[in-house]
């Protein structure tokens, strides 16, 4: 399989602003081209759009607005992991030889229809994500004897890290008491335990090895990809305190990269709710089952930004179609030592975990420099 790298990226700030999806998409793509004026748009073979928005023909629209006439142009939707799924599609186009350079742009509005999976009638009247998150929280806390105060550290840590990220939705920092005193949504979930939907976009440009060599002396490569979908419906999850799709996708990605989890220096993981972060870290093998909060508390106390340096979904906000791409951009910046006050200690290998619908589907990428 031929190598695929990431040649350029652009992003928009994540906000609560009300803009048309086409304008939001254009913002990050334009940022990418402004920062990389040497890129010849004629060389872009494909434009892939990641979004849950209902607007049509978005790839040809972005292509026209950006002055690109690609061979391949279409959208990809898979709820919250649309972004990394689009990157996987771009990787496949390049590694198969169908394309040499692919633009992936993800965008969402604060009122995205992707926030609720209407099809999942097994959830009865409890279709909003706060209900599966409450069930996960209750189950995880009971199984491993974890308190609400302990779980609140996830939100405290990720808001702290987001405060160093100029594009994050949240600029505030919070204490455990703030999280505990935030609005009670259910017995097992507070408002500050939740990521918030928002408006934003992120774009990256992937390229073949030949093109990468022409454009950059410090390339970032996608060396591992793992994906798994166990179901669409939340109630089909066999465990309510771990994530089966994440375990399988994580292992596949590490196998492909010929790495083990101890070699991952920095990671962005899909903390849609506080409880997700320890569950993900355990399911990816960063720590043993039940020890995720010990790892998170230690990272927070030592000011180590290894997990979710950009602030995670809780701190950054969650524009569904842009999230996986934004996570990937953070890992690129980390590997290139460009993450400024969020920079971790000279990382060489990074991981992105992006999931959908109560972890019924997960995508994991490994990036290396």
């Amino acid at each position: 399989m031929s190598k695929v790298g990431i040649i350029a990226y652009g992003t928009s700030p994540f906000t609560k602003e009300d803009h048309k999806i086409e304008s939001i998409l254009h913002k990050s793509a334009n940022d990418l081209f402004q920062k990389n004026p040497e890129i010849d748009k004629k060389e872009i073979d494909a434009v892939l759009i990641s979004t849950n928005n209902n607007s049509k023909y978005l790839s040809p629209i972005l292509s026209e607005m950006s002055g690109i006439q690609p061979k391949i142009a279409h959208s990809i939707e898979s709820l919250c992991n649309s972004g990394t799924n689009s990157i996987v599609s771009a990787f496949s186009y390049i590694s198969s030889g169908l394309a040499d350079m692919v633009l992936v742009s993800g965008a969402e509005r604060y009122d995205s229809p992707g926030q609720i999976l209407e099809w999942d009638n097994s959830r009865g009247e409890f279709k909003h994500p706060i209900f599966w998150a409450s069930i996960f929280s209750k189950s995880y806390k009971e199984k491993y004897n974890i308190s609400d105060e302990e779980l609140a550290v996830v939100s405290v840590k990720n808001h702290k890290q987001a405060s160093k990220n100029p594009n994050a939705l949240s600029k505030k920092t919070y204490t455990v008491e703030d999280v505990m005193n935030s609005k009670k949504l259910t017995d097992d979930l507070k408002l500050l335990d939740c990521s918030r939907p928002c408006t934003g976009s992120a774009s990256i440009l992937l390229a073949s090895e030949e093109i990468m060599k022409k454009h950059t002396d410090s390339p970032t490569w996608i060396t591992g990809i793992g994906q798994k979908t166990t179901s669409a419906g939340f109630t089909k999850n066999t465990s309510l305190s771990s994530m089966e799709s994440t375990k399988i996708a994580g292992q596949s990605a590490l196998n492909m990269a010929n790495r083990n989890v101890s070699q991952i220096d920095v990671a962005e993981v899909h903390d849609a709710f506080s409880v997700c972060e320890p569950m993900i870290l355990e399911s990816l093998g960063f720590t043993d089952p039940g020890n995720g909060m010990d790892m998170i508390k230690n990272l927070h106390q030592t000011n180590d930004f290894k997990i979710n340096p950009r602030g995670g979904l809780i701190g950054c906000g969650h524009p569904l179609g842009a999230t996986g791409i934004s996570q990937t951009i953070e890992i690129i910046e980390q590997l290139q030592n460009n993450a400024k006050s969020r920079q971790t200690d000279n990382p060489k290998t990074g991981l992105i975990h992006n999931m959908s619908a109560a972890a019924t589907s997960s995508t994991v990428l490994v990036l290396e420099k």
């Binding site: 959830r123 279709k127 259910t186 097992d188």
Partner: protein
């Protein structure tokens, strides 16, 4: 789908494969195991509470019927894990199913 016609009348009948007898969930005309047709198993199913939480005064529970059918249902009294329950009320409201258990 006949499942939804019965649900609209307040009856919770789970589809079962006519060939392999598997209970099929989410409700479907075809079996996800052997692809044969399904028909409704018309009985009063008993389920078991797997997990629950609460919003305001209402509990919401994950309930398992047989070994493969799980739903989320409302309960007005304090649930217990592994408690055996049955559907007391169900239907369709603006396209969404709803289930209540006792």
């Amino acid at each position: 789908m006949s499942f939804e016609k019965e649900l609209e009348k307040g009856r919770f009948y789970i589809p079962q494969c006519e060939a392999c007898k598997k209970l099929v969930w989410p409700p479907s005309e075809f079996c996800d195991n052997c692809n044969e047709k399904t028909s409704l198993k018309k009985e009063e199913f008993k389920g078991k509470i797997i997990e629950f939480s609460r919003q305001n005064e209402e509990y919401f529970c994950v309930v398992e019927f047989g070994d493969s059918v799980r739903i989320m249902a409302k309960m007005m009294t304090q649930p217990k894990k592994d408690q055996v329950v049955k559907i007391s009320k169900c239907g369709i409201n603006e396209g969404s199913y709803y289930f209540q258990i006792i």
